[in-house]
């Protein structure tokens, strides 16, 4: 399966298992979503459970919260993560707070799916990686898969989770892994081990990272698209024995896997596509040095998107690709 098919399959499986699961969002019904993630679901489960919505992200979120309070388990799609801001108040002040403020009387078992990240010439409003805003908000869980197998298993876990979960889908990976070279032909998922996705129900647990490459020289913390870029860059460099960790869930974070690795390697590079300042990389850097200070042999570094909007035609210079990673590794491994 491609990642988009795996996501579709997760929705299908959960809708079949639990009739409280409903799917809603702009263009998700008859059309099946602008990226086809919900294709076929309305036909199969009917308009009571899969429906198009008015174009109001704030409304989608508020309505989903009400449905959750009734007892449903809504899975909403925000068409692009760049358009999640109108929903922010409902998400932050309501979904994330409901269990707390009602001392458990009410909760918001929502899953918010949203394609994010750049590399598709989407310009500044179809390319953003806003996860750093949500990881700062107590009460929200943030999940980012990097391959079809994880996408399905994590999405199932997210839907089954009783708290609001944000599920950001790296759109650059929908149809194939992306190694960071714009100029090379587009790869496909076919043949990739993670494209072997079971048809049925399975979970990838929230809060558990995956060590996708073991190594001794340096720990690379990454997620989403950057997992593939990091893996490929290390393969290209050849002589660096990096341990690459795919975080998969940002909140709650798998801190013990991170600590174990950094204690072993003594060096750490954090890679994300989001703008640098105040991104989730800052939190990772703070945590690593707070907890592994005496093992560190070089500063923890960040290879990230720049602190500018995502520029349409210059995106290849914006994107934290192989060169940015390589240069950062050079510095980290220098001393």
């Amino acid at each position: 399966m491609t990642m988009i098919q795996a996501i579709n399959s997760a929705l299908d499986v959960m809708m079949a298992r639990d009739d409280a699961v409903v799917v809603m969002g702009e263009d998700v019904g008859f059309f099946g979503g602008v990226f086809r993630a919900t294709a076929g679901l309305q036909k199969k489960y009917g308009t009571n459970r899969v429906f198009d919505t008015p174009i109001t992200e704030c409304g989608i979120m508020g309505v989903a919260i009400g449905m959750g309070a009734y007892g449903l388990r809504p899975v909403t799609e925000i068409q692009f993560a760049d358009y999640i801001y109108p929903a922010l108040d409902q998400l932050v002040s309501e979904a994330a707070r409901l269990r707390y403020r009602s001392a458990g009387e009410y909760s918001a078992p929502l899953t918010i799916r949203s394609p994010f990240g750049g590399g598709i010439f989407g310009g500044q409003t179809h390319s953003q990686s806003p996860e750093g805003i949500f990881t700062h908000v107590s009460g929200l869980k943030t999940i980012i898969p990097s391959n079809p197998y994880d996408a399905k298993g994590l999405l199932i876990s997210a839907i089954e989770d009783d708290d609001p979960t944000l599920f950001f889908e790296p759109k650059r990976l929908y149809n194939g892994p992306f190694h960071g070279h714009y100029d090379q032909p587009v790869a496909s998922w076919a043949g990739h081990p993670a494209s072997a996705v079971p048809d049925g129900h399975y979970r990838v647990p929230l809060g558990q990272a995956a060590v996708v490459r073991e190594g001794m020289d340096v720990t690379i913390l990454c997620y989403g698209t950057m997992v593939h870029v990091a893996l490929n860059t290390i393969a290209e460099i050849g002589e660096v024995d990096a341990e690459i960790i795919d975080l998969r869930t940002l909140i709650p974070l798998d801190i013990s896997t991170i600590e174990r690795s950094v204690r072993k390697t003594g060096r750490c590079l954090i890679v994300h596509e989001a703008t640098r300042t105040g991104g989730f990389g800052a939190e990772l850097s703070a945590l690593v040095q707070e907890r592994c200070f005496y093992s560190l042999e070089a500063p923890v570094e960040r290879a990230t998107g720049f602190d500018t909007p995502y520029p349409h035609s210059l995106e290849w210079a914006y994107f934290p690709g192989p060169v940015r990673i390589r240069e950062a590794l050079k510095r980290i491994l220098r001393d």
Binding site: G66, R101, E105, Y106, G139
Partner: protein
């Protein structure tokens, strides 16, 4: 750098300059209250459409005023709900209890027993009569000024006080500011501090109920000032598109903190008209007339329950107190306004009606007043045994870390330990 503003363009023609219109209330402090711009239609004069009539056939109701109780205390016209005297007395008592409760808790705040309080003085009918018109398991999404809903549903006022005091018996574990109740048992949603967020939530709940083939409907309340929030619009849009079984109440009490209703658009049209904009059935009701509130709510509930979709109800009323314990209303409006409100007081109006129809008298009323006051006093005494704010009787500090998530992740466990260590370090725990 301070740079000069682009000067107004030289007029192309001899056009008059544009002017910014900034609304002004009829009266400010020191001025005479002025309600002369309010048209009060006669009780009984509004038509009552069939439950299933298309909204487009009665748009006029959004510009009128549904009233049942006339100046002589008689209930008149097609909207008269013909309630049994016993029901009327129960409505009266719930309103009186709400008022007594408000009075007491307002004073408790002034006595330093808690941080904050908000009255519903003068608006008791809006909540109480609506609660009577709904089914007990219809779901309520209130703002912070519908305490009358809980009281009308016979919820424990002692429990409400525990919440106000954030004491050790507060079911919300001292987390919420006073009056931000949550009572699942009474189908009363957790109140939010953020205005109007409950509106689309109510619509979502109603849509879920419809999708499941349930029979329960939802109702939401917000103030006229709060209609300006984007959530109001998204709620109306969803309600209209999916014909959700929901009642959207706008409590137009003329003021939003210090801002009169003109800053929410009240000078340009009615708030009921907002509903017309979405093709939603819309009623404008005398909010100080408990029978009119009851009748309109009942009509809307039946309409929703028969799959004819949502209704928006504007309750035309008056906020007779300050916004909360944090403001002094005489700083921004005429001090006479509360007394001169032309639609009277809801409790007095229902009392007069009961007396008019021979089902009540002054003595009974005085006895009821004494009784509800005693009930409030007694509840307060018990509640205060569980503590008042800031005096040590509260939930254990570590409960602060519960309910952020269903299961506590490691970082919150670590922070809980840190907090307990801190308390131990200072000899507090």
């Amino acid at each position: 750098m301070t740079r000069p503003i682009a000067p107004a363009a030289a007029p192309l023609s001899n056009r008059p300059p544009l002017e910014l219109h900034v609304p002004q209330p009829a009266a400010r402090p020191g001025e005479e209250a002025d309600f002369s711009d309010i048209t009060i239609l006669a009780a009984g004069s509004a038509e009552r459409p069939e439950i299933g009539a298309p909204a487009a056939t009665f748009r006029d109701l959004a510009y009128g005023l549904i009233r049942v109780l006339d100046e002589d205390g008689a209930a008149v016209g097609p909207w008269n709900p013909d309630l049994a005297p016993e029901t009327l007395r129960r409505v009266l008592r719930a309103m009186a209890l709400t008022r007594a409760f408000d009075d007491r808790m307002f004073r408790a705040q002034r006595q330093g027993k808690t941080s904050f309080y908000m009255k519903s003085l003068g608006e008791e009918a809006v909540a109480v009569a609506a609660a009577f018109a709904l089914d007990d398991d219809d779901m309520l999404f209130p703002s912070y000024r519908q305490q009358g809903l809980l009281i009308a549903r016979d919820w424990s006022i002692e429990d409400m006080m525990n919440q106000i005091y954030s004491n050790r018996a507060d079911r919300l574990k001292g987390r919420q500011m006073p009056i931000m109740y949550s009572v699942r048992e009474k189908h009363f949603f957790s109140i939010s501090g953020n205005l109007t967020t409950q509106y689309p939530q109510a619509v979502g709940w109603a849509m879920a109920s419809a999708a499941r083939g349930d029979t329960r409907i939802a109702a939401a309340w917000c103030g006229e000032g709060s209609t300006a929030e984007g959530d109001f619009h998204s709620a109306c849009t969803f309600a209209s598109v999916y014909r959700a079984p929901v009642i959207l109440n706008v409590v137009n009490n003329q003021w939003a903190i210090s801002s009169f209703s003109g800053f929410a658009g009240g000078d340009e049209t009615t708030f009921a008209a907002r509903g017309v904009g979405y093709g939603i059935a819309s009623l404008r009701v005398d909010g100080n007339d408990p029978l009119a509130v009851y009748a309109a709510t009942r009509w809307a509930a039946e309409r929703a329950r028969s799959n004819h979709g949502p209704t928006l109800i504007e309750h035309f009323t008056y906020r007779a107190e300050g916004h909360s314990t944090s403001d002094d209303p005489t700083a921004y409006r005429s001090g006479e306004e509360p007394e001169s409100w032309p639609l009277g007081d809801p409790i007095r109006r229902l009392r007069d009606h009961l007396i008019t129809i021979g089902e009540w008298d002054g003595e009974q009323h005085a006895a009821m007043d004494a009784d509800v006051a005693g009930q409030v006093r007694a509840a307060q005494k018990t509640a205060e045994k569980n503590g008042i704010l800031g005096h040590g009787l509260h939930h254990p500090m570590e409960t602060m870390f519960e309910d952020v998530f269903a299961d506590m992740p490691w970082h919150l466990k670590e922070q809980r330990k840190q907090m307990l260590d801190e308390r131990r370090a200072t000899g507090l725990e």
